[in-house]
């Protein structure tokens, strides 16, 4: 097992931010799925437990990757003199949130939700590799459908879009019930079935 762990550490080290899937690790080490799984878990536990380690194991964008330990963030940030990666603007974040949760989605649909033109944020997000064209909508315009990329998962530390926290739900269910009750009564009274 320790031999396998060592091999995996070597592999993940050299593949860096490309990472490897567990399938790839299996085929590269001739180990079984369960062995690889166990080795990965042991490595993960060891990195967390051992105080001298400065790395961690994380599943990111569908692959296993080594990352630096969070507690050393401030030390590594000292390497950063002039950050080239600016945080996303509010507009871009909004558009990205809509694309992430509603994908595949067209520009028009995004704009309907935001109530403002969103061409530029979409363009910026495309250039940053966070969203991509994933197809064309049915119908006359055959509008571009947008979806998120692997880079999106990477930048937000997710393994899968399923890991996105669920959208905040409308909280006032009581009030809704009241309205429903009212509507029911109303419809009963008038025999109307307006849609």
């Amino acid at each position: 097992m320790s031999l396998l762990m060592s091999k995996i550490e070597s592999l993940l080290f050299v593949t860096g931010d490309e990472g490897l899937s567990s399938k790839q690790i299996e085929s590269l080490t001739d180990a079984s799925a369960s062995e690889v799984k166990e080795a990965l878990l042991s490595l993960q536990a060891d990195y967390i437990k051992s105080k001298i380690r400065g790395i961690e194991l994380k599943e990111l964008a569908g692959t296993y990757q080594l990352i630096s330990k969070k507690k050393n963030a401030s030390t590594i940030q000292r390497l950063v003199e002039n950050p080239t990666n600016q945080p996303l603007s509010q507009a871009s974040l909004e558009v990205l949130a809509i694309v992430a949760y509603k994908q595949p989605i067209t520009r028009i649909e995004v704009e309907e939700i935001r109530g403002v033109k969103s061409e530029r944020p979409l363009h910026t997000l495309g250039l940053k590799g966070l969203i991509q064209e994933v197809g064309r909508a049915e119908g006359t315009g055959r509008a571009i459908l947008y979806g998120t990329t692997k880079e999106f998962l990477n930048v937000f530390g997710l393994n899968d879009t399923k890991e996105l926290p669920s959208l905040p739900e409308v909280q006032d269910s009581e009030e809704e019930e009241q309205t429903d009750l009212f509507m029911t009564k109303f419809q009963e009274a008038f025999g109307e079935q307006k849609e």
Binding site: E18, E56, Q65, L79, Q90, L93, A100, V116, G129
Partner: protein
């Protein structure tokens, strides 16, 4: 006066409305249309002063707010309405607006969550894959059968930019500012020289890149201050002409420039 501060912070009319609803402590399910519309219009007015590009979207919303407000003001007399009025009456005129606001608010909150995720992710770093060409044979190196698209390349570029953040202390100190005033002074000087000692002001700003324009401008001021060049204008509204006064470039003259 409180309007001026935050106008550029709004992401559109819906965002502005949510802000007002929050500030006025309004129940989103029972919006007092008169108050909200009034407040909204005042903001719009402030924005028109600023001539914001998106003004049209804000104006469209203003129109719908007014429409909703007037619908709510319509007196309803029992027994007087026909079928059409009934349908209007059944739906609160505010419903559509409320739904849009709630839907938008969901994503605005989701954007905040994304921002937090981004911040958390920025706490950990990974590394570029090692250069493994040492392990490869020449035959492998020349083989090429990959499906690549332009976005693979852009992605690689992004990764490089991310990684480059970490390179700063490894680079020399000089690289700190991409374009120095001093270098740009030299460049302006050479441009002038190559054009026989004078050229129009606008010719010195061929780059569309804003930081470059700004640095070029600063370098021109510096050259004027040092009496290396002077700037003249024949007539009002003419393009300025920049002329070289001193024909020689002496490196040591520019040493004391503080970047």
């Amino acid at each position: 006066m409180s309007y001026e501060v935050k106008l550029d912070a709004f992401e559109g009319p819906l965002d502005l409305l949510l802000h007002l609803i929050h500030r006025l402590e309004i129940d989103i399910y029972d919006i007092p249309m008169a108050d909200l519309t009034l407040q909204y219009m005042e903001h719009i007015r402030a924005m028109q002063v600023l001539e914001l590009n998106e003004a049209s979207e804000y104006l469209v919303m203003a129109a719908s707010l007014l429409a909703i407000k007037s619908k709510m003001l319509l007196p309803i007399h029992e027994g007087e309405f026909d079928e059409d009025d009934l349908s209007v009456d059944m739906n609160d005129p505010r419903d559509e607006l409320v739904n849009r606001l709630i839907e938008y608010r969901k994503f605005k909150e989701a954007a905040e969550v994304l921002q937090q995720l981004e911040e958390q992710r920025a706490q950990v770093f990974t590394r570029a894959p090692s250069d493994l060409t040492d392990y490869q044979t020449t035959k492998q190196l020349s083989a090429f059968d990959e499906q690549l698209n332009v976005y693979d390349m852009l992605g690689a570029f992004q990764k490089m930019m991310r990684r480059k953040q970490l390179k700063a202390p490894l680079a020399t100190r000089i690289a700190r500012q991409e374009l120095s005033v001093k270098d740009q002074m030299k460049s302006v000087y050479h441009t002038l020289k190559s054009r026989g000692g004078s050229c129009s002001f606008s010719e010195l700003f061929p780059s569309e890149d804003k930081p470059t324009l700004v640095v070029t401008f600063l370098s021109l001021l510096e050259l004027m201050k040092r009496q290396m060049v002077f700037v003249e204008q024949q007539h009002n509204f003419d393009d300025l002409t920049v002329k070289l006064l001193n024909g020689r470039w002496e490196e040591e003259l520019f040493e004391p420039i503080d970047e």
